[in-house]
């Protein structure tokens, strides 16, 4: 296991360096000059030269990259171009806890909603329960998350205006705080965010469960006289979840991309929102930092799912 981890970590390092190089080069070669953007209408050659030197743009590209790489490994992402005197790490420090919270609860909701629904659909296959469950999951899977989000916001706002009952349609409240007023902010974005993933897990679980329920060991377990609940939970479901573990790592990637819509529509101050606005303003230090972070999240998610797979299934050996 240790050998496996070391190998994966070394691979992770190369991935990170690769991502940093690509984002650096893309930013370096991108048309436009961030100093001009900063100075705007009030450009003067002197101010341009001063700022250009202050940000290190007068250095050759490889020196800029090496300096960037060094700063990266010392967690110094530099200063934002858009927000004066604000370190990129400070900007990210505001967004990471929010995105983590949103992602964590969304993932949990996906699993807690999707897996039971899928299992029930499999157990009640070809009944109206199966049809209802599968149909609704299909709808949630097909309809883009930004449509669901916008529609729910509309319903909340109109409902509030009609009934006078207030329910927040935007913002996130206080991160990691679960008073009733904070829960009101978080409930809808989390559920919307989880919707597509829950549908996906439900379908995967249903398929996997149906496959497992046909296996000989399940028939044997029933023949032994075990209660149906025990057969399902200890034998069928446990084995049916194995494929979901690999999917879990990939779903981190989906969580990351889905976050862009959710955070934008619900005005949640997370990493995705920071990334979107940094792209608009060509705030390259922030773009580079968030790209590296997001790439890390996906890669770490995959590593974790590989490890989890070996834990769940003793037949799988690492290394």
């Amino acid at each position: 296991m240790v050998q496996f981890l070391v190998k994966r970590l070394i691979g992770l390092l190369f991935v990170v360096i690769g991502v940093t190089f690509i984002t650096f080069i893309v930013g370096y070669k991108a048309p436009g000059d961030p100093i001009y953007s900063m100075l705007g209408f009030h450009f003067t050659p002197q101010a341009y030269r001063t700022l250009r030197h202050a940000y290190g743009f007068d250095l050759p590209w490889y020196k800029q990259y090496l300096r960037y790489l060094y700063n990266l490994f010392t967690l110094n992402f530099g200063l934002s171009y858009e927000y004066k005197n604000r370190a990129v790490v400070d900007i990210l420090a505001g967004g990471i806890p929010v995105s983590l919270e949103l992602g964590m609860w969304a993932l949990l909701a996906q699993l807690l909603i999707g897996i039971p629904l899928g299992a029930i659909a499999a157990l009640k296959a070809n009944t109206w329960i199966d049809t209802l469950s599968t149909g609704s999951m299909l709808v949630l899977y097909i309809v883009p998350v930004f449509i669901v989000a916008t529609y729910l916001q509309f319903v909340i706002v109109q409902g509030g205006q009609l009934t006078g009952i207030f329910w927040p349609a935007t913002n996130w409240g206080t991160p990691w705080s679960y008073t009733w007023s904070n829960l009101q902010y978080k409930l809808v974005p989390i559920l919307v965010y989880a919707a597509t993933g829950a549908a996906y897990y439900a379908r995967m679980t249903r398929t996997s469960m149906l496959e497992v329920l046909r296996q000989d060991y399940v028939r044997t377990a029933r023949a032994k006289g075990l209660r149906e609940n025990t057969v399902i939970s200890r034998h069928a479901l446990r084995n049916a979840l194995l494929p979901l573990v690999t999917v879990g790592g990939v779903s981190v990637g989906f969580l990351v991309t889905g976050a862009f819509f959710i955070e934008d529509i619900f005005n949640i101050p997370g990493i995705a929102n920071i990334t979107l606005s940094s792209i608009t303003y060509r705030d390259y230090p922030v773009i580079q930092a968030t790209t590296v972070l997001l790439a890390l999240a996906v890669v770490v998610g995959n590593v974790l799912s590989d490890i989890l797979y070996t834990v769940v299934d003793p037949r799988i050996k690492v290394g």
Partner: protein, 580 residues
């Protein structure tokens, strides 16, 4: 036997009277214009700011609208603008002007304090102004030269050749008197001084916290400035909460709290407004008509901002006035604004926008045409221009218009104009669509700095779309700064070109220069006369004056719409939440 319930109604009435009496004594019952103020706990005004964060809370650095709005809550300066955009004393009670019109002497009010109770005196004023001119601060915004560049030796200070201007052109005469000496007489200096670059900052806070000092504005119950509010909490992700500054020298705000909430998009902000999470919000263009239908929530004001088309006088064929006028008259601006902006941004021929001091309601468009243009006149002028230049449509030099990318409305605007030029004049205008910073870069190569003007002919940009927003509410900002001799913004080479009309343009420039140092009543009429000549010369093709709109809940009272979009510091005492 009597029912035990007979005494109940009387008791209920008595209780109601008691409760009503208690309620009325605990709640705020001050009224203004028959609007009863809501209880103190409800005096929270929630604004939606469309931004991820403000760019800077430092008055010496802030230059964008959102940052300026936040800065003006916490800081203030020697003078300020009222809601009529007139200069009024703020931290100073009066000022004197020397006979040569070069030196302003400001007399500070008594017992001034920063928000943390620290006394504020002339030492703080000279420190703040000198700090704003220091290279360390000024290089972070590049607007300092615009607003404080009139101070003598400011260029050397900005360039680092002078370590300080204190004792030089910025003088501390006594603890409550400061003098500022200008490089040349400038009637608009006081207006420029109202910009946040000149605001007074607390040196001890800056010395303690260095570059991060604005992250500590909420410490010790609020510190750093002398404005009407202090920072209660500043979360870079979600927004800023302000509470009233108990040490404010002006009339105290009635609101208990003002929350500036950050919203990434105007749609998100407006959704929050509809959901009653905000009391004020910008309006997505698609909702303008809907909100306007609720008349008491819709607010519209003229922004001091003009969108225009510029043509380089050194680039053929735009060295010919007839051809310039033809291009201007071929455009139906009325139809354009109706189609693109639902008529919200009024078509204009003005260079000095409505709402700005010096606005001339009697100004006429080129050749007396209306804003909807005049196709027949355009064609006649075009033919006359071609004849003068000995050109035909076939031999007309190619014409290209450059404009910024990522602007769908601008794209549509240019497309329509190109169609009109083709239909009316028979001229095909090509396009170059580039990023904003690339556009700025190309503009710097368009202005001619050579003594031999022919070396600049047909160089740089030929025609482009741009906009200008007021730096300060003075016509100088729209005339001399844009078209004056040697003006940094004279990118179109007005008065410095090979046109036979150049001497006339130089005469207009001289008129503007005279107005710039005229402290008398003729000043405005000089600018207006110059403006009419600029319009006749088609120095710009002004297209629209931008209109700002926002939604404001009807229970917020006291907000006065003005073209500067900023609430003067003393006006916060008039704003409050009514019972709703």
């Amino acid at each position: 036997m009597r029912s035990s319930k007979q005494w109940l109604p009387g008791l209920l009435v008595l209780m109601a009277l008691i409760v009503a009496g208690c309620t009325s004594s605990n709640n705020s019952t001050s009224t203004n214009n028959n609007q009863t103020a809501a209880p103190k706990l409800q005096q929270i005004y929630r604004l939606g700011i469309v931004a991820n964060d403000i760019n800077s809370f430092d008055p010496g650095i802030a230059s964008d609208k959102n940052s300026v709005e936040a800065v003006m809550m916490v800081f203030t300066g020697l003078v300020q603008l009222n809601d009529q955009l007139q200069v009024t004393p703020q931290l100073s009670t009066s000022y004197d002007l020397s006979p040569d019109n070069l030196t302003y002497t400001f007399h500070l009010a008594h017992n001034l304090k920063f928000s943390d109770g620290t006394p504020l005196n002339a030492q703080d004023v000279v420190y703040s102004l000198d700090r704003a001119l220091s290279p360390t601060v000024a290089q972070q915004n590049s607007v300092t030269a615009t607003y404080l560049g009139l101070i003598k030796d400011s260029a050397q200070r900005l360039g680092g050749q002078k370590k300080t201007l204190i004792g030089d052109s910025i003088k501390l005469l006594d603890p409550s008197t400061v003098s500022l000496t200008l490089s040349h007489p400038s009637p608009y200096f006081l207006k420029a001084l109202t910009y946040p670059t000149s605001f007074i900052v607390e040196k001890s806070v800056i010395d303690k916290w260095g570059a991060k000092w604005t992250d500590h504005l909420s410490d010790r119950g609020g510190q750093g400035g002398a404005g009407p509010f202090v920072v209660k909490n500043y979360d870079h992700s979600t927004g800023i909460q302000f509470v009233a500054n108990r040490n404010y020298s002006g009339p105290k705000p009635r609101l208990q709290e003002v929350d500036m909430n950050f919203y990434k998009t105007v749609n998100a902000s407006y959704t929050a407004y509809q959901d009653s999470q905000l009391d004020q919000s910008s309006i997505p263009p698609a909702y303008d008509a809907q909100v306007e239908a609720k008349n008491n929530e819709f607010h519209r004001f003229n922004e001091l901002s003009i969108d225009y088309i510029a043509m380089n006088y050194l680039y053929k064929p735009f060295d010919n006035i007839n051809i310039r006028q033809a291009f201007a008259l071929a455009i139906n601006k009325d139809a354009l604004t109706k189609a693109l902006y639902n008529g919200l941004n009024p078509a204009t021929c003005h260079i000095i926008p409505q709402g700005m001091a010096g606005y001339n309601p009697k100004l006429t468009c080129p050749d007396g045409a209306p804003t909807k243009g005049d196709s027949a006149k355009a064609q006649a002028l075009f033919q006359a221009g071609l004849q003068q230049e000995k050109l035909t449509l076939a031999t007309l030099p190619p014409i290209k218009i450059t404009y910024e990318s990522n602007s769908p409305l601008l794209d549509q605007e240019i497309t329509v104009m190109r169609q009109e030029w083709l239909q009316v004049l028979g001229v095909t205008v090509t396009t170059q669509v580039i990023g904003f910073d690339a556009l700025l870069q190309q503009l710097t190569t368009t202005v001619c700095t050579q003594s031999n003007l022919s070396k600049c002919q047909n160089k740089g940009l030929q025609m482009w779309a741009f906009a200008w927003g007021a730096d300060y509410p003075d016509p100088q900002d729209w005339t001399s700064l844009q078209f004056g001799k040697g003006a940094p913004n004279n990118i179109w080479n007005y008065g410095q070109n090979l046109c036979t009309c150049a001497p006339d343009q130089q005469a207009v420039q001289q008129e503007m220069t005279t107005a710039d140092s005229d402290f008398g009543s003729d000043r405005i009429s000089l600018y207006q006369d110059a403006e009419q000549k600029l319009v006749n010369d088609v120095a710009w093709i002004p297209m629209f004056q931008r209109t700002g709109t926002y939604a404001l809940k009807s229970y917020v009272t006291g907000v006065v719409d003005n073209s500067s979009t900023e609430i003067p510091p003393n006006d916060w005492s008039k704003i409050y939440i009514t019972v709703h």
